[in-house]
């Protein structure tokens, strides 16, 4: 018979305890998500032409996504939600003849809705370090924000130097994303000519916004055409020639020759207004370019200017015509908040309007002192354990800052 080392068994106890709390957390999250899908199924939005869409979902505690699924109706989908209590649900922006077909080309692509993703993370807001918690990727231990840029990490529990930074977005972060969303909508309305009714803005469920376009004209556009649209919206690839600065054969020399079609609209107008020039002020324009250091230097400046004036959207999401994208009305497992339609973007408060889980109490053990404001209640938890409403408990567990106790 084998002798069991005592220290080893102690270590196993520890592991069992960790396993237990992980299992408890998963079960608490599943319960809360299942309740949401059971009681709040009205929040779910039926995707148009549901039978032509591909669906996918992820499960708590399991890796990878179950994809290539198809549903004939919301009823079928609701049943899966309540049965599986998925952590995240995705629906294709694409329409397919055979949504379950594999590999991709078997699906027979019919078209795809135009979609945009604005992710707060990409805005690199200066406030982020002040509300980002380091969570060890090895043991899950969390440490409070440091108010500094990410520095070398070393876990105080296990010594690992790998961590994820988990942000609890502040109102500045949300406002930053709102500015981008508003700017995107302006471009879509006034330049691209979309009807207001064709544009739907959703809170992503965590830290950003998704803009969905319902306009048949765009459905057939291929990735290249979408990529060109992305360049337009994000201010990438604007040439000097298009606003009237032309390079001559001699090095760095240029001349001002405004385009025949003028500067009245679009990016040309934006840049002209910014530089305070028009079709009659060629000399002034030449001086501006010279002051900035000539053709090449002005080119660098213009690129910067256009980037600042453009919208920060994720180019991959818009150009991918086979993407599965978070389904409206479902919960986001990064936060437990819903991806929900914003009828009024200005007054939209994700921590109230997208916080739709129940109020029943859950006992949690926080890994680090945390502060979060949800449904207009502030939770400032410094003790190790606390009993808080389900919506707050789920939020902190999703953020990996707490575990079910």
């Amino acid at each position: 018979m084998r002798h069991t080392d005592k220290s080893n068994s102690v270590w196993q106890d520890e592991e069992v305890r960790e396993d237990n709390s992980a299992a408890k957390t998963i079960s608490a999250l599943k319960k809360a998500f299942r309740e949401y899908y059971f009681y709040q199924s009205k929040s779910l939005e039926e995707p148009s032409k549901i039978e032509q869409r591909e669906f996918g979902y992820m499960q708590f505690g399991q890796q990878g996504m179950l994809r290539h699924l198809s549903f004939k109706s919301m009823k079928e989908l609701d049943a899966v939600f309540v049965r599986e209590a998925p952590s995240d649900v995705y629906c294709s922006n694409a329409y397919y003849e055979f949504p379950t077909g594999q590999p991709m080309q078997e699906k027979r692509w019919l078209g795809a809705d135009l979609i945009f993703d604005i992710d707060g993370k990409d805005l690199r807001m200066p406030c982020v370090p002040s509300h980002s918690y380091a969570v060890c990727t090895q043991c899950g231990a969390a440490s409070p924000p440091t108010h500094e840029e990410q520095r070398a990490y070393s876990c105080s529990s296990c010594g690992s130097n790998k961590s994820d930074y988990v942000s609890i977005p502040c109102s500045k972060c949300i406002d930053g994303s709102k500015i981008e969303a508003r700017r995107l909508i302006d471009y879509l309305l006034f330049d691209i000519g979309l009807e207001r009714s064709a544009i739907t803005t959703y809170f992503s469920g965590n830290n950003g916004f998704h803009v969905h376009i319902n306009d048949n004209g765009f459905v057939s556009l291929d990735p290249q055409a979408r990529s060109d649209l992305v360049s337009y919206l994000s201010g990438t690839g604007l040439t000097l020639e298009s606003i009237g600065v032309r390079k001559t054969n001699t090095e760095d020399l240029f001349l001002i020759k405004f385009p025949k079609s003028g500067l009245a609209y679009g990016w040309r107008r934006r840049i002209a207004e910014k530089l305070k020039i028009d079709m009659t002020t060629a000399i002034k324009f030449r001086n501006i370019v010279n002051q900035l250091g000539g053709y090449d230097a002005f080119k660098v400046e213009l690129e910067k200017l256009a980037k600042v004036m453009g919208v920060r959207i994720d180019p991959q999401v818009t150009t991918d015509v086979h993407r599965v994208f978070r389904m409206p009305g479902t919960l986001n497992s990064k936060s437990g908040l819903s991806k929900i339609k914003c009828t009024n973007l200005n007054s939209f408060d994700p921590f109230v309007d997208a916080c739709l889980l129940a109020d029943g109490k859950i006992n949690i053990r926080v890994k680090t002192p945390v502060k979060v404001r949800l449904k207009k209640n502030t939770f400032n938890i410094s003790k190790e354990t606390a009993e808080v409403p389900a919506y707050a408990a789920v939020y902190l567990m999703c953020k990996r800052l707490a575990e079910a106790n």
Binding site: G193, F218, A225, S227, G237, T239, Y265
Partner: protein
């Protein structure tokens, strides 16, 4: 439709109808006075395959017949490259006339014809701009076409865009449909079934085929001596052990696959990545190479895509490129 219009646009169905109505039959090509037409047609093919435009314009009866016989000659030459060049040149020939007609469209009667050609053949609706100086096409119609052009000036951001329309001059408007026009002519020839042809046409076709065969012999691709700046940058980041975004890794791997680097070497280019796992990397590179999963070989992302993903570090040498794979290749 006026006969003179058919001479300019002989690919229109109306031109075929005209021939049918006039009772034209293939046997007529044997007539001695047809030699003039056959010679003209052969000349047209020769000029256009050389990359120039055949711009002679005679009586429409002659033009329509010349066009038809040039299609027959190209068909019997039977070389795809020749057909492509011919179709493109024919498209550019028509483009020239379309531009002239479009420019004149405000002053005259031909306005409706030109708009009809665009709408019927290419489903492209053109509207005259408010100040009558320019033409407007819908943003969607523009994107569907111009996003496949490679020059920066055609990028939507470099255009006058307002309320769902892109404002263009006559040349630019017509340029939008050049490819479709060329495909239309290409498909027309592909769909043709040839009757037994008169000897005179066969001889012309044989003669042209002999001349053109040598031109299209396979060219060898030159050796790469230097990586493009985007690839260099990605390699530098990788060598430093910094984290390279997924899109950059795809770019790097597809590029290396495209220039024929051995798979093992490519896999180990990623060994400094903080999350390197040989098994996963190998699977991913094999996937990109079309050996796994969907069995589709991924191509190197275009410069446009790389620019959008902020992975572009262009130098002057990149000026005319549309894909990093072209970098450093000698132009012939």
């Amino acid at each position: 439709m006026a006969g003179s219009d058919l001479a300019k646009y002989p690919f229109l169905n109306e031109a075929g109808e005209y021939l049918r109505e006039s009772g034209f039959g293939w046997e007529e090509l044997e007539r001695p006075d047809m030699k003039y037409i056959i010679d003209r047609a052969a000349e047209r093919v020769q000029i256009e395959v050389d990359g120039k435009i055949y711009d002679k314009l005679e009586r429409y009866e002659i033009e329509i017949l010349t066009f038809l016989i040039s299609l027959v000659i190209v068909k019997s030459i039977g070389m795809d490259q020749v057909l492509r060049k011919f179709a493109l040149a024919e498209a550019r020939r028509a483009e020239k006339f379309l531009t002239e007609d479009l420019r004149k469209q405000n002053e005259n009667k031909n306005g409706s014809l030109i708009m009809k050609i665009f709408e019927d053949l290419f489903k492209l609706r053109i509207v005259v701009s408010e100040d009558q100086r320019l033409f407007k096409v819908k943003v969607i119609d523009y994107l569907a076409r111009a996003s496949h052009f490679h020059e920066q000036e055609w990028k939507l951001i470099n255009r006058l865009v307002h309320k769902g329309y892109v404002y263009l001059d006559a040349d630019e408007t017509v340029r939008l449909i050049r490819n479709e026009l060329s495909v239309l002519i290409y498909d027309k020839v592909r769909a043709m079934t040839l009757p037994t042809l008169p000897q005179s046409i066969n001889l012309k076709a044989d003669e042209l085929r002999q001349k053109l065969l040598s031109r299209y012999e396979r060219r060898l691709s030159p050796v790469i001596t230097e990586y493009p700046p985007c690839i260099k940058h990605a390699l530098e980041v990788m060598n430093k052990g910094d984290n390279l975004p997924h899109s950059a890794r795809v770019m790097l791997a597809t590029y290396m696959l495209a220039i024929g680097k051995p798979l093992d070497e490519i896999v180990f280019m990623f060994e400094n990545a903080p999350d390197f796992n040989e098994k996963i990397t190998r699977y991913q590179v094999e996937h990109l190479a079309g050996m796994k999963g969907s069995h589709i070989k991924y191509s190197v992302p275009s410069c446009d895509k790389i620019r959008n993903e902020n992975l572009c570090f262009a130098t002057a040498q990149c000026d005319t490129l549309i894909n990093p794979i072209q970098f450093g290749r000698m132009k012939k």
